[in-house]
């Protein structure tokens, strides 16, 4: 789909917080000088077309008592698919990317308890025989997240 200027303005605004009021979209529509109907129609279309992958609350697992940890492994190309199947079989593996580096498999573990990270990473090491490097966040330099549409 092609995005027009109004779609882009909506996308930029909707990456910021939606108010906790009975009719939150009406409030945002007013800011953008649109009708609530137009805003909702355009949002639905962008969601259907996967320009917006998700709309809703962003949760912080750590604040719920859970934990996140970025992990990396160095996997031989010929073993890649076998190892991938073993790694992805863990429901705690939330995202997994192949990247251009000797450390070529990068995934995020999301667990409900901090101990869950170690348990899962250790299990993956046992199952694959490959060291799982762990990179928990020490500090977040959190400003944007916003993509200029």
């Amino acid at each position: 789909m092609t995005l027009d200027a109004t779609d882009r303005a909506i996308l930029n605004r909707m990456q910021d917080d939606l108010p906790l009021t009975a009719q939150p979209y009406a409030a945002v529509a007013e800011e953008l000088r649109l009708s609530e109907h137009d805003l909702l129609t355009r949002l639905s279309r962008m969601k259907d077309d996967r320009v917006i992958t998700r709309f809703g609350p962003f949760f912080d697992a750590a604040a719920m008592g859970g934990a996140f940890c970025l992990c990396a492994m160095s996997v031989q190309p010929e073993d890649f698919e076998t190892v991938l199947t073993k790694v992805n079989a863990h429901p705690e593996v939330a995202h997994n990317y192949e990247r251009t580096h000797r450390l070529n498999m990068w995934f995020v573990l999301a667990t409900e308890t901090p101990e869950g990270i170690k348990a899962t990473a250790d299990a993956i090491e046992r199952e694959t025989g490959i060291k799982v490097l762990r990179f928990p966040k020490l500090q977040e330099f959190f400003i944007g997240f916003r993509v200029a549409a």
Partner: protein, 160 residues
């Protein structure tokens, strides 16, 4: 910590907020609560940082940002907080973290995700970051993603 009711609310919202004029009323109804009680709980979860914001997650690829590079830097420890904040504030950096090094395999302690239309654009932005870090940076690298191997949202397991 979250209680059983919070957990129900989080589960109900994991798939997203409905795109209807009164979305919280709709969610409240499915939970058998009234809207005010739900809004109160949500405000509470937000003040505790469990909910960061209620917002859209854009699809970078669909926006023409088809190249993403994880830039990584070895920044001297006593300047990481100051410099990390500057890098995090750059408009093209979507996530930026200090993480522990894993020596000898991995000397880098600053991670900054950079998006662009192509690798040239990502490289130009990376040069800008290098300029800010200056002498405080001892080594650097960039890792491009070549394949998404798995992508799921946060899944909360039902707890007994």
């Amino acid at each position: 910590m979250i209680d059983a009711k919070d957990r129900e609310i989080i589960e109900a919202l994991q798939g997203g907020l409905p795109l209807v004029p009164a979305p919280y009323a709709r969610v409240a109804e499915t939970l058998g609560m009234d809207q005010d009680a739900l809004l109160y709980r949500l405000a509470e979860l937000k003040s505790r940082g469990v909910i960061r914001r209620i917002a859209a997650a854009p699809n970078h690829y669909k926006l023409g940002m088809t190249s993403n590079g994880m830039t990584v830097w070895d920044v001297i420890d006593d300047r990481i907080t100051e410099l990390g904040a500057q890098i995090g504030a750059l408009p093209f950096v979507t996530h930026s973290y200090e993480r522990p090094r894993a020596l000898p395999d991995w000397p880098y302690n600053l991670f900054a995700m950079v998006h662009g239309a192509d690798r040239d654009e990502v490289e130009a932005k990376r040069t800008q970051i290098a300029g800010i870090l200056g002498d405080a940076c001892r080594a650097r690298d960039i890792l491009y993603s070549t394949r998404i191997l798995k992508k799921t949202g946060l899944r909360l397991k039902a707890k007994g």
